[in-house]
Symmetry: C2
Subunit: 559 residues, 2 copies
């Protein structure tokens, strides 16, 4: 490859998806053209109290809005498309995706009233997309736990940048959509300047099993089950859903679909031809109780033990339409996402208590396989692409690092491997690459409608409130004499149960009174000092008595 | 109210440790004699906001305090002895334990000022303990992840009740304290009426590897490491600590011990002869930086990613004495307890970012083995004891259930297996057993010093506060005219960042004013109605605008 001499540079960076699992968003810029790959969301960490979702900070994109040529989507998972409604509100650019991906996106945009104003462009595996005057994108089909997933090859004046999207190599895919090995090899033989590749399973040795292996297990379970089969899985896993339908058909059962996102995906995927459902196969939830137990499959949400999901409600006997009965077989066809282990465990326990036979992934049952390739598949991708530069993406730092070691092991020069943080730019010019500073990047926390800033102060207060609650101390002072006219009244929430702690609160009252009286007698009457003194005295007393530190909010009024 | 237990029957129940991992406490009662096995604590669930620890509700024991003959301890882990300081405060009974167990207990009681008033009785593997007029206990040595662990055989007029404690079968134990298979077989051949056995690993097929396998891996790592070795493990795992010392010795390194509980255990175990430390092996943390990097081992706490622990501080570069340097080898010799995966993952990432080589259990590295027996060992115990009745303990419901299936598989009559909840009594009389009601049982939540009740209302408030914060609305009304004299003032904490949301709060102010004025003009002036109306109107407005539901606390004063 000949070295180009140019004053323009190629910049590659992530706004989300590196050093974390979730909110994937990657940016490729050459001269005045910016291309964005994916726009995902992330679920909040445990210290982000009250937050619903987290999306990437897109300041860099809004500040350069005239340069952004579009958002290319690799597939329809929430961590790749879930941020779109928020991003498109601030950045009206075209969105490119395959049929199923756009189908799921459109549903989302409709709910956010953004469908009309968003330009959506359908791509196929052989599409070519012009991106401004300097770049062009082509695509290649991959295997993943949702159909219609693609990798992207972005052709730039510096060379080709390949983004794998999420992938595994499934040699016996459920939908017969084979990964396009030939196209990948062709891209590789033409020369790949930089490869960005999925690091999710970089810690896992070997190969990830084929999705089809789950189908075989399901058929066996469906056939042997003497009563109803209830199966929970990720709503977006259309291949899994297809296999549930197939297993139901071959065991003479009907399927009912329960849970908002599951109903959504099934209808979109069926309508677009990604799910093949025999006539008469689907029944309404209301019909379940009228049918023989061994003729029924309940396909539902809740594989992560989410508190409001269908399976969790069934496990707690609070679902309006389906009760779990002794002898039912319940399959949880998913692995708990880190952080959800306890919720899933609780659901399993509750189902067992109801007398169900529960089959879950912890028990080596074969009812789930990952959608991400393991080490041997990551090496295969590296060897197909033979990149000059390698940027491991889509993973926590330890996974990126492991992926970097894999790249080294197949011959990538360690100096050509860049493990980046969000915002960190890899700049490539004339065939040489280096880290070149940072763009603004971070978490935007969405709570409810996202009105008003939920920043560090708000989160710190929520944390404090959640630990030991709050005491509001109300006192009215006389303007003239400075004497206490009414109060102090102490109102506690989340601190102690008042009826059991009257003595404590009485004493707290006395401490507030005497603190204020002492200050008045010394002619200290700035409110700030009064409030600080009350907070300090009361805080000290409560800590001594209880070893707790509730938030204290003094309200001092004058009449 | 507790159910009365008739005097001629044997009753067995758990006050903690079934349907959960933690706060182990089991009760065996015959006539007027009550024996308690263990008194553990549990760490709070994620919905127990602000709670420090959880202990069993011991109402049944305090109501029957004159019958309680003592607390027998199986071993020195927190989930078996951590509740003692709280229990002994309300129930002054003798405590029986092996040397190391009592050593750890004494340390605890000293801190709680209970050492003087607590009768502590040292037991050996061949001790016999009279418990009231009807029962007697003998002991048998087991293997577990702490030395001096025992199982207990309680002889009662109905027959022998065996409690295994926590156990595995380690045929090559680190301390040469072999499990006493002969004694177990002898107990079995004399006849076991009821067996209570550890279900922790009932879901795991096969055998748990020997602790010694970890030692071999550690020696190899210590020898190959070119710089310092930092190793975090459970402080109580004295075998593991011994192996760290051995590996340090054979690789020519010195060891420094960091972290309060680690320093504690090392000094107690060494003093009592459970840890053999060559002279000059231990160095002070201050000496670490003066020594050649390949001569040092740092043994520390933090294997669970606990926020304030030694390893976490090192990973964040906030430890006062030890910095992690590029090229250091860090070993996390533990599996994350469910719920801690994210914390451990974060610590690993931070260590990698500092340039350390991190070895952890997720990577199949052999640096940790469980202290609990897997399925084959559980079957071995069942076959040694050949119990008539079987009660799986020490586990979540799904583990108890799996353990029950294992018992069935080795020939225990399914009708003789009792999966119980806390408080649920298994009553045995004349050789036949049945479930016979419940005694009071539950969680006692300890927050700080445990002053005042932290019950459901307090937890519910903390949950609400943690989600969307609180708004305090202060208004002063005129006693005569009912007009607003001052306010409304709205103070928010944990809701929105005020400076960015002035418009929202201004509008909220207007809504409170107009709500109050309207009510006054209609002559509604009961405070309760005023407050409720303010709460409703403001809550509705805020939900419409933000989709959040902060707690609203109206404070209305009259002058």
């Amino acid at each position: 490859m000949s070295k180009k001499i140019s004053s323009d540079k190629l910049s590659i960076f992530a706004l989300g998806g590196v050093g974390e699992i979730g909110k994937n968003m990657y940016v490729v810029q050459y001269a005045n053209d910016i291309v964005v790959v994916d726009a995902g969301l992330k679920f909040p960490e445990e210290d982000m109290l009250g937050i619903d979702i987290v999306i990437p900070d897109i300041s860099y994109l809004t500040e350069n809005r005239d340069k952004v040529r579009g958002i290319l989507l690799t597939h329809g998972h929430e961590d790749h498309i879930g941020g779109l409604p928020y991003v498109l509100k601030h950045l009206n650019v075209p969105v490119y995706g395959t049929k199923l991906t756009l189908g799921l996106v459109e549903n989302k945009l409709r709910e956010a009233n953004l469908l009309g104003e968003t330009k959506r462009i359908l791509i196929h595996a052989d599409s070519e997309v012009e991106l401004g005057s300097t770049m062009k994108a082509t695509f290649f089909r991959t295997n993943h736990s949702i159909p219609d997933s693609v990798g992207i090859c972005i052709e730039t004046p510096e060379g080709n940048v390949v983004h794998t999207g999420d992938f595994k190599f499934d040699h016996t895919p459920v939908n017969d959509q084979y990964a396009d090995l030939q196209r990948m090899a062709e891209i590789g033989s033409k020369g790949v300047l930089a490869l960005l590749s999925d690091s999710t399973n970089a810690e896992k040795p070997g190969f990830t099993p084929s999705e089809r292996s789950v189908g075989i297990v399901l058929e066996d379970i469906f056939r042997k089950a003497e009563q109803r089969v209830v199966i929970a899985t990720f709503a977006s896993n259309v291949h899994r859903i297809q296999q549930v339908i197939n297993a139901a058909e071959s065991s003479g059962r009907k399927v009912t679909v329960i849970g908002r996102s599951m109903v959504n995906v099934v209808s979109i995927a069926a309508e677009l031809g990604y799910l093949h459902i025999p006539d008469g196969m689907l029944i309404e939830p209301e019909e379940v109780n009228k049918m023989a137990a061994d003729r029924v499959v309940v396909l539902c949400t809740g594989s992560q033990g989410e508190p409001m999901s269908a399976l969790t409600r069934m496990a707690r006997s609070t679902h309006r339409k389906v009760d779990i009965l002794p002898g039912d077989t319940v399959i949880i066809a998913a692995t708990p996402v880190p952080g959800n282990e306890k919720y899933v465990g609780r659901t399993i326990d509750e189902l067992f208590r109801l007398g169900a036979d529960v089959i879950y992934s912890g028990s080596n049952s074969g009812v789930h396989v990952s959608g991400h390739g393991s080490q041997e598949e990551l090496k295969l991708m590296l060897n197909l692409m033979k990149p000059q530069f390698f940027i491991p993406i889509h993973g926590e730092y330890r996974m990126q690092r492991r992926h970097a070691l894999l790249a080294e092991s197949v011959g990538v020069d360690p100096d050509n491997i860049f493990i980046t943080d969000i915002g960190e730019i890899v700049e490539i010019q004339n065939g040489s690459a280096r880290k070149a500073g940072k763009v603004t990047a971070g978490n935007v926390l969405i709570d409810g409608l996202g009105v008003g800033d939920v920043g560090n102060i708000v989160l710190r207060d929520r944390k404090l409130l959640s630990q030991d609650g709050i005491l509001v101390v109300v006192v009215t002072l006389s303007k003239q004499s400075g004497a206490i006219v009414s109060g102090p009244d102490i109102i506690s929430r989340g601190f102690v149960y008042v009826r059991e702690s009257e003595g404590l609160l009485d004493e707290a009252n006395r401490i507030v009174s005497s603190t204020l009286q002492k200050l008045m007698s010394e002619n200290v009457n700035e409110w700030a000092s009064l409030k600080t003194s009350v907070k300090d005295a009361l805080g000290r007393f409560l800590y001594e008595q209880t070893r707790r530190r509730p938030m204290i909010l003094p309200i001092i009024m004058e009449v």
